[in-house]
């Protein structure tokens, strides 16, 4: 039994050496953001009354319970921090664990590195064990980091470490999920997609459990719903964490069992032989290669749009039941319509960020071809550099466009169907208004591919910078010039009178310049041959 794990520790050290730069950004975000939110609580809510007012307006707002979970207790800074961060935190901790495990199991097998490692003095389960251990260590580090930084910032340590534990134990559980999907799919992308689908469904199921009436039982159908029951800042119940860790361990055991039932380099989902002839050209090839992300993100957007629509459909009844909102409307501070459209705008913004993720992914996918030396081969045919890259550029620009129209249409229709009339045209227009910002993100990716492919991850980094800035900036009272560095902040507000379209045109112009620069750069630079 022990010999199956021989070499786990050297492999783990090797993996840490390979990964410490990749994990550092995650740690930075998890180390800084919670403390930031925590320390701003005082300036946001000078008196407990303000916090209570927010809580009462939020507790019945389905859009927020769907995205962030229930606002259990906003009367303390740690309670507010928990509400703001625990869902996104869990999601990203799980994503980190999934990517880490896949990178060292399935992706290493795809690239052939694993073969080299496995031929050494290495037990049958050592590589899987080292990948999972790395993900667990990283999850534990995230948990401790969040707990320690919040404690240092003055939070009660039990609550701080509970919140850390929620994130960490979710990471541990999803490392297990990813260990299993790495055995199922026969390529890293398939494995990642499967694990991310589980993650997405978990998020959605617990969101519905929090939002719909009498649907609390749904929380038990999702690992993220279990984690919610820890309730940092109020209950600090450690039992759900143990459940998550236990499930993580069980899943890894399942993965180990599955891995001994499959061949090296192949997944349990068998690969069928395909056609012996093909008719694809460079356009056909590009769409073939991007079919998986296109459809998986497309379905994600459609489902999210529909769910968001259903949620906004329940808004008016929620408002009716909320004395605070009724008061606001009674004093003509706002109208119900304005409130609804305000929420829809936030929902469409979230969809827009997802659209940007899709676009960046499609654009950067192009460089993988180069890295894996297939571009070298394809370009030996009579194909100019421009004709090689243009299908990718077009796809990464068009796909988010289609996605935004589809999901905003789904949102509007679902909302209308569930009894909250929205103007379909305006909602779709708001969806389209996100496009300049999305295209700017895509254009950055294309420019980096063409001009400095070594720096291509800056495209993700920029989005990671825009995301918290856009969502948390206003509530953290960030200065306007800083907010304006995010194109998602300057997205036109279609629902308000006198929409200002000028920033969108500027964003579009910058994006166009970047795309042209990227294409010109790819035409002139050396192919990267590794």
């Amino acid at each position: 039994m022990n010999s199956a794990f021989t070499g786990t520790l050297p492999l783990l050290r090797h993996a840490i050496r390979l990964d410490h730069w990749k994990l550092l950004p995650w740690f930075l975000v998890f180390g800084i953001l919670p403390v930031l939110v925590y320390s701003l609580y005082g300036s946001l809510f000078p008196s407990p009354i303000d916090a209570l007012a927010l809580q009462s307006s939020l507790s019945t707002n389905p859009a927020f319970s769907l995205l962030l979970g229930p606002a259990t207790d906003l009367s303390t800074a740690i309670g507010f921090t928990t509400w703001r961060l625990q869902m996104f935190g869990m999601f990203f901790a799980a994503l980190m664990a999934v990517l880490t495990v896949t990178r060292h199991t399935r992706a290493a097998e795809d690239s052939g590195q694993a073969e080299l490692l496995d031929s050494g003095v290495v037990g049958r389960h050592a590589r899987l064990a080292s990948a999972v251990l790395l993900a667990w260590l990283a999850s534990a580090a995230v948990g401790l980091l969040v707990g320690a930084t919040l404690t240092l910032a003055g939070a009660p340590s039990a609550s701080a470490y509970s919140l850390g534990g929620v994130l960490g134990s979710t990471g541990v559980a999803f490392a297990g999920v990813s260990a299993v999907t790495a055995q199922l799919g026969s390529a890293a992308r398939v494995a990642n997609t499967l694990a991310d689908t589980v993650l997405g469904i978990s998020y959605l199921v617990r969101g519905l459990g929090d939002t719909l009436n009498d649907a609390n039982w749904l929380l038990w159908a999702s690992p993220m719903g279990w984690a919610e029951h820890v309730r940092p800042a109020t209950d600090n119940d450690p039992r759900p964490m143990m459940l998550l860790v236990g499930v993580g361990v069980l899943l890894v055991g399942l993965a180990a069992w599955l891995s001994s039932r499959r061949d090296f380099g192949l997944g349990l989902i068998p690969t069928m032989p395909g056609p012996a002839r093909g008719r694809a050209g460079i356009w056909g090839l590009t769409s073939r290669l991007n079919r998986l992300p296109f459809w998986s993100w497309g379905v994600n957007l459609l489902v999210l749009g529909t769910v968001f629509g259903l949620v906004s459909g329940t808004l008016s009844s929620a408002f009716a039941g909320n004395p605070f909102v009724r008061q606001l409307i009674a004093f003509r501070v706002t109208t119900e319509e304005q409130l609804v459209y305000g929420f829809v705008e936030v929902l469409v913004l979230i969809l827009g960020i997802i659209g940007a993720v899709l676009g960046i992914q499609l654009a950067l996918r192009f460089y993988v071809e180069e890295e894996e030396r297939r571009s070298e081969w394809v370009l030996s045919a009579p194909l100019s550099r421009l004709r090689h890259v243009i299908p990718t550029a077009v796809l990464s620009i068009v796909a988010p466009g289609v996605g935004m129209v589809v999901c905003s249409l789904a949102l509007a229709i679902a909302s209308n169907a569930s009894g909250s009339p929205l103007e379909v045209g305006k909602v779709v227009l708001q969806g389209a208004a996100e496009l300049p910002a999305i295209w700017l993100a895509v254009a950055v990716a294309l420019a980096l591919i063409g001009l400095a492919p070594g720096l291509r991850s800056l495209a993700w980094l920029l989005l990671v910078y825009w995301l918290p800035l856009t969502f948390f900036g206003p509530i953290l009272k960030a200065p306007e010039w800083l907010m304006n560095t995010s194109p998602f902040h300057v997205v036109p507000h279609v629902f308000s009178a006198g929409t200002d379209w000028l920033p969108a045109w500027w964003t579009l112009a910058i994006a166009a310049v970047l795309v042209v620069a990227g294409l010109a750069g790819y035409r002139r630079r050396d192919l990267v041959c590794t």
Partner: protein, 319 residues
């Protein structure tokens, strides 16, 4: 004869590493030209410049009378390429990959495609990620050879093939040659180049150190001789051009320049030669002449190959 490829004074650097350092190369139309050198000597970099994948820092490069960087599309209609390490799209089948390359060049020779698949025993309906290295190599070979291109650029094309398939591959290259195609074949497998090439260029540290036909190279290199004599082997030391003389009882081993081979033979005859083995210099001998050291050529060369390989790899990774 005109030149299919002519390169003079080619320089290409990657950061501070000078991969090609004033390389000259001429490939004549209709010949199979062996491009010989250890890993990291600059073979692949040269081929990639010929394909316009990399841009030359300085020097003149002409392929089929055109500039490989500027005239990519027109030129590539006439060129086919087998990369050194072929990678196939995981989800595409081998057949689809072949047809993709064929379609990009506006069609391929259907009959040749079918014959090659048969000759190389390749199943075109398997997915890319299930192919072994040898089979991936075969996919690229089929795609290249069924293209009817004038110039074939092959970068270590047999690296993953088994000996049987290597023989088939050689037949196919012979066939291409009889059809009047030009082949530039990079390799570090001496036997392969020896069997196929009309002329050979040996590259070392980014420079071509020798170009010649195998016969010509052999003529300029010493022949190895072993003989059994009845007496007086010592007299051979007096002969000019004889080196590495070893006497084991009645047997003598030495190598001798081509010009003095006749003289050495007559000396052997005069001293009662009863057995004789003459081996022409192998390509390995030629190679070692450029890479080896006089005292322990084999060990030293192996050492050099290793250091140059790792040295290059290290620098590459550092970039």
């Amino acid at each position: 004869m005109t030149a299919a490829v002519s390169i003079s004074g080619l320089v290409k650097s990657f950061g501070r590493f000078r991969a090609l350092d004033g390389l000259d190369l001429e490939v004549r139309e209709g010949e199979v030209h062996g491009f010989l050198g250890p890993n990291g000597a600059g073979k692949s970099t040269t081929l990639r410049i010929l394909l316009g994948l990399l841009r030359a820092d300085s020097g003149a490069v002409e392929v089929l009378g055109a500039d490989p960087w500027r005239d990519v599309v027109a030129l590539h209609r006439r060129i086919a390429y087998v990369p050194g390490d072929v990678s196939i799209w995981p989800t595409l089948t081998g057949g689809e990959a072949i047809d993709l390359l064929g379609r990009l060049r506006g069609g391929l020779d259907e009959k040749r495609r079918k014959d090659l698949l048969e000759a190389l025993d390749l199943d075109p309906s398997k997915r890319g990620h299930t192919y072994s290295k040898g089979n991936r190599q075969k996919v690229a070979i089929v795609a290249a050879l069924s293209s009817n291109a004038e110039l074939l650029i092959l970068d270590e094309p047999t690296a993953g093939l088994d000996p049987l398939m290597e023989a088939t591959f050689r037949e196919e290259i012979h066939r291409e040659r009889t059809l009047g195609r030009t082949v530039l074949l990079s390799s570090h497998i001496l036997a392969e180049v020896e069997a196929l090439a009309d002329r050979i260029s040996i590259i070392r540290k980014g420079k071509v150190v020798e170009t010649n036909s195998l016969e010509e190279m052999r003529r300029l290199t010493r022949t190895n001789v072993s003989a059994t004599l009845s007496d007086g082997a010592g007299v051979l030391t007096a002969l000019p051009g004889v080196t590495d003389l070893r006497v084991e009882g009645n047997r003598v081993h030495f190598s001798v320049d081509a010009e003095t081979l006749g003289d050495a033979m007559s000396v052997l005859v005069r001293h009662g030669m009863s057995a004789l083995a003459v081996t022409p210099p192998s390509l390995e001998d030629l190679f070692l002449q450029h890479y080896g050291d006089q005292h322990d050529p084999v060990a030293d060369d192996a050492d050099r190959l290793n250091t140059s390989f790792f040295g290059r790899g290290g620098r590459r990774r550092a970039q």
